[in-house]
């Protein structure tokens, strides 16, 4: 899971990062969660914030994001949860650009999936392994 800079480091600090982990573990199962390092307030920005996505420097933006992409790839996880709009757009682009092919999902998608209320049209960011689950 990507700790959004705006939510964690810049606003509510490590306590909200712990809350996020509580929710994510409840949703995916503790054994399926793996942290990046560094994380929480020390997490690296993905490069989607501050207007970078709209600033017209896509090469620099992806060079910036290479560190984030490596952090995610190093976990071996097949899904990255991005509970922030900018993070989601940027990391989704990084996965595609670097050919890493991990899925990038909003947190709301997995919450609804785990509760059995995720509709068929709400699965754009799920991989083939989860796309049919609970339908």
């Amino acid at each position: 899971m990507q700790d959004p800079c705006q939510l964690v480091r810049k606003t509510y600090g490590d306590p909200v990062a712990e809350d996020l982990r509580f929710v994510v573990k409840a949703v995916v199962g503790e054994e399926n969660f793996i942290d990046m390092h560094p994380n929480k307030s020390n997490n690296y920005c993905c490069g989607g914030g501050g207007g970078f996505l709209q600033s017209g420097f896509p090469e620099a933006r992806r060079a910036y994001g290479a560190l984030k992409n490596k952090q995610i790839v190093d976990t071996g996880a097949t899904y990255c949860i991005a509970p922030c709009h900018n993070c989601h757009s940027q990391i989704h682009d990084l996965s595609h650009h670097f050919g890493a092919n991990y899925q990038v999902t909003h947190l709301w998608t997995l919450i609804c999936l785990s509760m059995g209320m995720l509709g068929e049209n709400e699965r754009e960011y799920l991989g083939d392994d989860l796309r049919e689950v609970g339908l």
Binding site: S41, G51, K68, H85, H106, I111, L118, E122
Partner: protein, 243 residues
């Protein structure tokens, strides 16, 4: 072999950093740097445009105003605050970057950011994608109707707009209603499931604020004030922003 020292022109004085120091509490601690490099080591923007946070601060401290206020690097720094968080002297480099952005003439700042800011200023919903409030309300209603009809268990799903006295006023990033409206639904379901009393509004509904990234103080304040007014006009107690 050490490289030759860089000689800074005589009599050169920092005006840019002095100005920023006057604005920031404690002067942003901008003159406390002892060049440890913790900032640069943890910054993903290090190396872009031959710049990093330590170098940027040193150049500002040495009065290299021309370089500091013209490098495009300030648009490649996301102002994520990793540098100041890790800094042992709590130096506010991101704010220095913000003011360096502001030193750019508005028409020279990145077109994508300025354009998104201007779009938001032109619509009552403050949508950076220029979506009208009418369209937003229509899309919400349309998607809601389809979910209620097609998804068993969701017959009572709600997505209120302009509901007076709701507890929560929820913003919505323009990307969903404009390009992928189905992505709004999971959040509605969660709010509905926990029994939250919430509403969207036609005024100030869009979550994004590119005027802040544009370092246009007057514009971003206008947008924030419009959104606050939207929350207050509906008598909502909490303002939820999903950005």
């Amino acid at each position: 072999m050490a490289e030759a020292a860089i000689v800074i022109g005589e009599g050169r004085k920092s005006f840019f950093m002095d100005k920023v120091k006057e604005i920031l509490p404690e002067g942003g601690n901008l003159n406390l740097c002892y060049t440890c490099g913790t900032c640069a080591a943890g910054c993903p923007a290090s190396g872009l445009e031959g710049m990093d946070p330590r170098l940027f601060l040193r150049m500002a401290a040495m009065g290299m105003d021309e370089e500091v206020t013209t490098t495009p690097w300030v648009w490649m720094c996301s102002m994520c605050q990793r540098c100041s968080y890790a800094c042992p002297m709590n130096i506010n480099i991101p704010q220095l970057v913000y003011y360096a952005r502001q030193a750019w003439p508005r028409d020279k700042r990145p077109k994508g950011i300025i354009g998104s800011c201007d779009q938001a200023l032109r619509t009552e919903g403050n949508s950076a994608m220029g979506a009208s409030s009418e369209d937003f309300e229509f899309v919400v209603g349309d998607v809601l109707e389809e979910v209620r009809e097609s998804q068993p268990g969701q017959e009572n799903l709600t997505a209120p707009v302009n509901k007076h006295g709701a507890m929560y006023f929820l913003n919505q990033n323009s990307r969903e209603p404009v390009t992928e409206p189905d992505e709004m639904v999971p959040l509605w379901k969660i709010l509905n499931h926990v029994g939250a009393d919430w509403t969207y509004g036609t005024l100030g509904w869009a979550a994004e604020n590119y005027c802040m990234f544009a370092a246009d103080d007057e514009a971003w304040e206008r947008i924030v004030r419009n959104k606050v007014k939207a929350v207050e006009d509906l008598g909502c107690k909490y303002w939820l922003n999903t950005e």
